[in-house]
């Protein structure tokens, strides 16, 4: 793999739309609970639960299970690694976007 291609590789764990949405929401808060994440991302309960498990296993989020007014409540926050990885991922997407914008006009002039 060339150096350029390696530099443009996306983080597959984060790039999945559901997980990208969860991490992006969490990057703008200190912590949020399961219901808020469901509201903000539009994911179903099962999907959100499954994505959170994967993100926790990868060490990107910390999950705190507690009781609020005798009801179970799952509170989620980004770990330092999660915060670093989501910021790097968005930066990578921006770089790809800029690259595609510079490459596309060049290709338009390429003879077929």
């Amino acid at each position: 793999m060339s150096q350029l291609t390696e530099e443009l590789v996306l983080d597959r764990l984060i790039h999945e739309p559901g997980r990208l949405a969860i991490l992006t929401v969490l990057s703008s808060v200190t912590d949020a609970d399961f219901v808020f994440l469901q509201r903000a991302t539009g994911l179903t309960k099962g999907n959100l639960s499954s994505h959170l498990s994967k993100l926790e296993e990868a060490g990107l989020v910390a999950i705190d299970k507690r009781f609020v007014r005798k009801k179970p409540n799952t509170n989620v926050s980004l770990t330092a690694e999660g915060r670093r990885r989501i910021a790097a991922h968005w930066e990578q997407l921006e770089r790809l976007k800029r690259l595609s914008e510079t490459v596309a006009p060049d290709q338009a002039h390429t003879p077929s």
Partner: protein, 201 residues
């Protein structure tokens, strides 16, 4: 959802829980009625009882939002911004109202409704910084600002009418904010709602 929408979800959640504005607006109106000593409001205990009832309503509304839309802790930068905003708002209210119309020697003593003018400005700036001005913010607080700035407030102190105007404005803004909130996050209990939530395992 786009990146920007996801990143602003927390700010929208904090600012647009409009139903909380209804008891807040009620407090403004209660303060005006208390100052005027209208009917039963001339008794301090009536004033305190109604204030307590308003507090209970506010708690119930807060619980409604928490149960149906979840909880979050804003980021440290958002909390610092909110703290600075609050200090500036209080300073603008006190300083602005004293400057426009007060007994202070340095007051311009203009025939305006200083409370309405200053509070409308605070609300416009606060929404503009927090979530961006929506049409209803501009219409409602623009109207309060214009009404307060008209040079027709001669004679007796118009502070209580200012409180009434602000109270009505806060309630009206809350109704429209809640509408935007529901458009953003969906109607209450529209999601697979549970007693608490599902653990992530």
């Amino acid at each position: 959802m786009q990146r920007r929408e996801l990143e602003t979800a927390a700010a929208n959640y904090s600012y647009l829980r409009g139903m909380l504005c209804i008891p807040l607006g009620g407090l403004f109106i209660l303060a005006a009625l208390g100052n005027w000593e209208v009917g039963p409001f001339r008794h301090t205990w009536v004033f305190l009882l109604v204030a307590l009832a308003i507090g209970v309503v506010a708690l119930a509304i807060s619980r409604f939002y928490n149960d149906n839309y979840g909880r979050l802790t804003p980021s440290t930068s958002q909390q610092i911004r909110a703290g600075i905003g609050l200090v500036l708002a209080v300073a603008l209210m006190l300083g602005g109202a004293s400057l426009l119309r007060s007994h202070a020697s340095w007051s311009l003593d203009l025939p305006v409704n200083a409370i309405a003018v200053c509070f409308a400005l605070v609300m416009l700036v606060s929404y503009a910084i927090g979530v961006g001005l929506k049409a209803h913010h501009i219409i409602i607080w623009g109207a309060v600002l214009v009404a307060g700035a008209l040079p027709v407030w001669n004679g007796t102190d118009p502070s209580n009418i200012g409180l009434l105007l602000c109270g009505a404005g806060v309630i009206l803004t809350g109704v429209f904010d809640h509408r935007v909130f529901v458009q953003t996050f969906g109607p209450a209990r529209a999601i697979d709602y549970e007693n608490g939530d599902v653990a992530a395992h």
